[in-house]
């Protein structure tokens, strides 16, 4: 029990003294996850509209498939990305393995289905009258899309925040494709994994506390949005 309290106490010292390593790792985690989140948003908004506003055969199955991939294990995606981007793999020529860029790609692959699925269900949960009215008033297809997305914007933001939460908290993918290189691809979760295995509990705890605080903030934001 003393170990736990000492660990927590030293963890707070590390955080409050803005320990260089802790800040650096946290900054990197945020940068990588936010970039991947941004990439996913760019893919997701147009794609979700295209899927929602068009009728095509197999649409139901496509949506089920997207929803199934919510729970894809991060390590499986990590392995997939590794095989594709490793020098011996089809995209090996890019030389992206074990860089922050490949972590962004991997995380974007991981969270795009989540955002896509949630955005589509947000769109279908929206008031049909709105898009019908828009169309009746002579709006083009694009305008109708924009209006409908605007109506469900809070649900869309929720989807984005959920995606970010999944990106920043995953460890399997980052370990496999990033390699947990000190000062380069080490993020909060991979550092916790390594330091715990080394028996260095304090740094792990400090990072764990920071990650929990980030998760808490995410939830706070989500609650605020959902109250609107």
């Amino acid at each position: 029990m003393t170990e736990l309290w000492e660990g927590i106490a030293r963890a707070f010292v590390l955080i409050l003294s803005l320990d260089r390593e802790v800040m650096e790792i946290t900054g990197r985690s945020l940068t990588i996850s936010m970039t991947s989140c941004g990439v996913a948003v760019l893919i997701c908004l147009p794609l979700s509209s295209v899927i929602h506003f068009n009728r095509f055969p197999g649409k139901r199955y496509l949506i089920s498939l997207i929803q199934t991939s919510f729970s894809l294990p991060t390590v499986a995606i990590g392995l997939f990305v590794f095989v594709i981007f490793s020098r011996a793999g089809p995209l090996g020529i890019l030389g992206l393995m074990f860089t922050p860029s490949i972590m962004v790609i991997g995380q974007a692959i991981l969270i795009t289905p989540v955002m896509l699925g949630l955005t589509i269900s947000a769109l279908s949960g929206g008031d049909i009258a709105i898009s019908e009215t828009a169309r009746a008033l002579g709006a083009t297809k694009f305008q109708t899309m924009v209006i409908t997305i605007r109506e469900v914007r809070y649900a869309v933001i929720t989807a984005v925040v959920m995606g970010f939460g999944r990106a920043i908290s995953e460890v399997g993918l980052s370990l496999i494709v990033g390699g947990n290189i000190k000062g380069y691809t080490r993020t909060i979760t991979t550092a916790i994994s390594l330091e715990t295995s080394r028996g260095d509990i304090e740094l792990s705890m400090a990072l764990g506390i920071i990650l929990t605080m980030i998760a808490f903030l995410i939830n706070l934001v989500l609650n605020r949005i959902q109250q609107k």
């Binding site: 900054g27 990197r28 945020l30 020529i93 074990f98 380069y184 691809t185």
Partner: protein, 314 residues
Amino acid sequence: MKTDGRKWLIRLLTGIFVILLFPAGTGGMQETGEGSSGEKLLKPVMRIRVATTTSLYDTGLWGYLEPMFEENYGVELDVLYAGTGIALEYGRRGDVDVITVHSKSRELEFVERGYGVERVPFAYNYFVIAGPGDDPAGIKGKTAEEAFRALATGGNGLFVSRGDDSGTHGKEKAIWKSAGLPEIANSKKNSDTAGWLVEAGRGMGPTLLMADEKKAYTLCDIGTFLSYKGKISLVPLVQKGEILLNVYSAIAVSPEKYPRVKHDMARNLIEFLTSPRIQELIGNYGTGQYGEPLFTPCAGTEHVDQRQPRVKTP
């Protein structure tokens, strides 16, 4: 109507970007302030990548040598820690420029198949069989083979195997074979080993912590063992015999196989490891902290030291 919708979309996208970029920017600034990753993402700094066995990483040796190499050659050295099996696989796939591993037969095979240029031994130490202080299986003072036989047949005590295809795991297998129990080395899951052999499937450090947690026996290189000494209560029980020799070598990944590997810098790294100055530092590494060196340098030769290992049993 039309302009309204467009405007709104633009506003939404700008909003998202501002939200995304603001903390990302501050995170980046913190890093550039310290001259690290944020800056490196923008500036083309040459990076060289080495995959190392976990024992050289968990002892902190790479962390110690890395800044010296980076300063000497003005490059960024990326150190990936993995078991020898994975490190060799990274090498075979061309994902790293150099590997530092410890499994002679597999290293030779790696070079022979054309994946590596040359096997360059640079340091060695010994393995120990560590276990709980009360030694329920009574292996203390025995040879490695006798100790493994006692663990397999005695029914007292648990053995934690690395089980991750690493160099240490390879050494476990070699000892099982040498002890006349090849079936334990070969079997994946065996009812014979049920109840007394556990596969950790992780690096040396975590395996050691697991063995300590379970009050079990495990095979560990002396370097990692000493660097974990304060954190665990296991003691070294068997440290005799040539079979426990543990040689680390560096191999540059073949530029013929993978033209994109940074072979010149890889050669620099191997020269650096085998240079007299660094060899001396490797030989002294850990003396201050653990009271004895963790490695014996051996550049240029595969020098087998016939002396007994210097580890004192507490």
